[in-house]
Amino acid sequence: MSERSPIDNATIRDGKSRVNLDERFKWLCIGVATFSVLILVGLLTSILVQGLPNLSWTLLTGVPEPDAKEAGIRPAIFGTLWVCSICALVTLPIGIATAILLEEYRPKNAVGRFLYSVIQLNITNLAGVPSVVYGILGLTAFVNMFGFFQADRDGGHPEIGVTYYDQFFSEGERAILVRVDNANSPPTQLTPDTAAMDVDFRPVTVVLLKPTDALPAEEDREYAILDDAEPGRINKKAWYYFSLPFGRGVLTGALTLMLVVLPVIIISAQESLRAVPASLRAGALGLGATPWQVVWNVTLPSAIPGIMTGSILAMSRAIGETAPILIIAGIVYISRTPQNLMDSFTVMPLQIYNWISKPQEEFRGIAAAGIILLLGILLSFNAVAVLIRQKLQKPLS
């Protein structure tokens, strides 16, 4: 007998069992994949079942009421609109500019390269910071502005676009306004030549009465006031009202959301820019274009579909983001749409959270209906993003 070859000693596993294993694993995979589809179906069904019966015109146009049947989400829809548009206006330029800096202006020396890697690492880490932490940052940096303007509170904090009035009520039950300098001016003492106005800001002459005087006739009472009447302080804010610190207003919400989505936008814009073939840049540079001319005329137009897709997805994340808004705005009752940048606001997910956490059972249905609206908006955003990706993105090389 000749020497036995090592192959005779080796145990040769049955091919059949390996094929069986492969087959079983394939079915496990299919099962898991089906499961993930089932989760989505279950999620959507449970929300549709609870929400559809409550979906109504009142919900879309009403304001949050203590009675679930009359509650609506309009202030929250407008809040989301305000916050997210301002957020997009602020975030997109900064985010895309940062991506251009990182991708198109690569440094040539070691110090620059080190700085770039620091910025890059920083951005990846910022993307992993929980959004609730950004809420805390927004609370300190924007709502209170580190307490810088707190000491100034007594003399009124810096603000523009607001006028304060003292409001009197005449004997004829009419409101009469007198303009005052700021929120903390002493109460107005009425004199015969006080510049008084009615509620439409038309000047009126007031008739001052002493407490001992007899009441004038019915028709003369309109602008007749007791001379020791106590005013109430009211204010009128213009659409450009602005104050420091920002307080719990729309601007704070937008800036906080900016912090949340900025890393997302930077990273996706970087990926789109990276996908532009280097030959295009080289060609443009070879013709004598400056770096910015290359970016503005060649790279950016080629990368725009990708950047737009990424930005839309980032904004849909901003729309659904609840935690940071909850931290900066708190749970407050908002019944009107925001009128200026400093106005208090609520957004759709926050209103939904508010309804879910109410003890009354009937608000859960309203919340589910609100979720249907929210998901509808988000899904249409995603659909637009997918469309842009498919229509505009032509291969460049």
Partner: protein, 329 residues
């Protein structure tokens, strides 16, 4: 470029136009060149400012968290040994108040562990399926499903947990609280599952084709190739995906605020209600707590702890992934 016909609106035409414009400029007044140069420098400066903004954000986060945490420890009823050494978190009603962060960390860990039991295996198996097994048609339906799951706002998952998962759990077993860690954990798991899947799939796709072909050439089945060759080769990428998913679960807020309850306790019973670090912050923000009390500042201390934990996880995750990238490029 494929053909001359498809040139319009693509890069080459743009370059040609640009070339003509640059040419015209060169012939024109030389002063315009200095204007261009000044504009270049101005724009570069602006871009650098934007780039530095992200560093400013990090600096601001660190400054706010560190300074307010220091303010927290300045209060008389707070000690570092109590904060790091106690499992009793009772900042609101307790007398004396107790700030043992471990109660919150414990709740966070319980929810995270339950979430990862769901998200990691499901995510990895789906990733292997998508990358190695799935026919194109399945891919094109499964991918959008995952994208939609990833895009659903967290408050919706919170609603799902509270209104659907909890009743199912209570129906299966009587011991479950109306608020419980399992329900929140399952929802967080569903939330993290698409993240794990897409990151792990990226890692699997990055494994060179040659490795697979060699394994097939040796007679391996698809199972052998994917589990014994591709997954080990992509291991660092997969681990990085896992770490990032854990960081995401730790920082998840709305689901736990809605479904996990608000009773901070160091428990490992998944049927109990727990409070996580994020859940406590939401409770503070939503409640009417005076702005200058100890419990208000405790929010910053909790946020700082949370920030440290997630930052460590993300940094290790990114580090591992980068290591992996170098191995195959």
């Amino acid at each position: 470029m494929s053909s001359a016909g498809s040139l319009d609106s693509t890069g080459e035409t743009r370059i040609r136009d640009l070339g003509e414009r640059v040419g015209r400029l060169m012939k024109a007044d030389p002063r315009s060149l200095s204007i261009i140069r000044a504009r270049e420098i101005g724009i570069y400066g602006l871009l650098i400012l934007c780039g530095l903004f992200s560093l400013l954000v990090t600096a601001a986060i660190l400054f706010v968290l560190v300074s307010e945490t220091i303010n927290f420890f300045r209060f008389d009823d707070v000690t570092l040994s109590n904060f790091l050494g106690s499992t009793k978190w009772d900042p609101l009603l307790g007398n004396p108040k107790s700030f043992g962060i471990w109660a919150l960390i414990c709740g966070t860990m319980l929810v995270t562990v339950i979430a990862m039991i769901i998200a990691l295996p499901l995510g990895l198996i789906t990733a292997v399926y998508l990358s190695e097994y799935a026919p194109k048609r399945v891919r094109s339906t499964l991918k959008p499903v995952l994208e939609i799951l990833a895009g659903v706002p967290t408050v919706v998952y919170g609603f799902f947990a509270l209104m659907t998962i909890t009743p199912i759990l209570q129906w299966m077993h009587k011991g479950f609280d109306i608020y419980n860690a399992t329900s929140a954990g399952i929802a967080v798991g569903i939330l993290c599952f698409p993240t794990v899947c897409s990151l792990a799939e990226d890692a699997l796709q990055a494994v060179p084709r040659a490795l697979r072909e060699a394994a097939y050439g040796l007679g391996g089945t698809r199972f052998d190739v994917s589990v014994k060759v591709v997954v080990p080769a992509a291991l660092s990428g997969i681990i990085s995906a896992f770490l990032l998913a854990i960081a995401r679960a730790v920082g998840e807020t709305m689901i736990v605020a809605l479904a996990a309850g608000s009773l901070p306790q160091a428990t490992i019973d998944p049927r109990d209600q727990v409070q996580t670090m994020t859940g406590f912050m939401v409770q503070m923000a939503g409640g009417d707590v005076s702005n200058y009390e100890t419990e208000y500042y405790s929010m910053y201390a909790v946020a700082f702890t949370l920030f440290i934990i997630t930052l460590t996880l993300t940094m290790i995750g990114n580090l591992v992934r980068r290591q992996f990238r170098e191995a195959y490029e």
